[in-house]
Subunit: 249 residues, 2 copies
């Protein structure tokens, strides 16, 4: 879906949105509206964030450097995502962009890069991760953007794993099993999905993961999937069985 879908541009906005408030948009958003879309005074724009929801706004003063808008009407409340964190070993840049977009589209609360022994990317550009998450949320009509956490070492993450958060471990070496049945045995509540780097986890890492009290190992099926494919595939199953992609929840 294009940013301008339904003709009205839709942008994430960190500032507070409330009735009749006047905002000066940041330079990048102003540039996008005024220079790219050629929106002038009186043009309508939708702004959203995870606290104030989505608002219909009108441009009161179009300026390339700093467009001003007035908030008119709240269109939607913010919709918090299911409490699913997504833990992943960072990939090289293009596939990491894709992974951040896709995990956002699939509805996760937080993107958490974890550094593992076989992680191929040695640096993580958090601004870029966040920009990808924002772009996906803007395009996919979501009224929140997942948080992007600082990278952490896997060992530290596991050592302080909270008692109440189920850890769904995507285990390439698990015996083949029905993933729907596996997920149906998980009790509802806070969750996280952990997916490894392209080279897989080391033996020691796998043992540490399987020692977490709330761990559930999930089979990834008969085919090898690339990490960005597996992200979408596994989150589709988790959302369908335990998240919000079903009528019962």
């Amino acid at each position: 879906m294009a940013r301008s879908q339904g003709r009205v541009p839709r942008l994430y906005c960190e500032q507070t949105l409330s009735a009749r408030s006047k905002l000066t948009l940041p330079r990048e958003a102003s540039h996008y509206l005024v220079t790219v879309l050629r929106s002038g005074d009186g043009a309508v724009v939708r702004l959203f964030n995870a606290i104030d929801g989505e608002w219909q706004c009108v441009i009161s003063h179009a300026n390339r450097k700093a467009a001003q808008v007035i908030c008119e009407e709240r269109l939607r409340e913010a919709t918090p995502p299911p409490d699913i964190d997504y833990l992943f070993a960072p990939l090289k840049s293009a596939r990491l962009d894709y992974l951040a977009q896709k995990a956002t589209e699939m509805g996760v609360r937080q993107l958490r890069p974890v550094i593992t022994r076989h992680t191929v990317a040695d640096k993580v550009n958090l601004d870029r991760l966040r920009a990808n998450a924002i772009e996906a949320a803007e395009q996919c009509n979501m009224v929140y953007v997942p948080d992007v956490a600082e990278p952490e070492k896997l060992k530290g993450v596991l050592a302080s794993w909270p008692d109440d958060r189920t850890l769904i471990f995507c285990d390439e070496r698990a015996g083949q099993a029905n993933p729907v049945d596996t997920l149906k045995q998980v009790k509802p509540g806070p969750m996280a999905v952990l997916l490894g780097p392209e080279g897989g986890f080391s033996e020691e890492e796998r043992d540490m993961i399987l020692a977490v009290p709330t761990v559930v190992a999930l089979s990834l099926g008969p085919r090898i999937m690339r990490a960005d494919t597996a992200a979408v595939a596994v989150l589709a199953l988790v959302q369908s069985v335990l998240g919000d992609w079903c009528a019962d929840k």
Copy 2:
């Protein structure tokens, strides 16, 4: 996974593979092995196709234009994919590449471009679709490559829909419903998944689709997904409930 994963290059090969047969590889494969990977005489390479399976071969004469190999030993039988066709409205090029790769990784029998009223791409490069499917099969350790069908108009496809093939219709406008429960009601057998263009199906198209006797409308959940994301998400569900991503099948 890189092509050279496990050090031994792995390539799709249309020629017949059998014990002690001598093959001259096509120019592109020869170039990849000899110039890119710098494989010389005596180097091992794995070749596969959907009929003869996967073979360990040895380069008998390395030449940039036409490397010769000798087939030594069959490593794996061909593994036919689940009988799931993937019908999709073509996207613009980069996302179409991605879609072809992803649908291949998710295990479909055939990629079928269908032209709909709101299809954004007016031409389909079948060679490129096929090259993407082959690359995904090579990288994901599969011993088949999905067929790539000629583009057809949706109307014609639906008019001659076979009685015995379930049509799983990814319907953005279906009321929200548990997708696992929906899929569990499908009887095993030949299947197809149909996903529309970014602008959705027209009213008339939707009526035609829903009039197919074997149609099953599948809810896509509470978020808008881009078409290439939806491809992976829906195929993950179909493979988990009806395909080969579970132990029971």
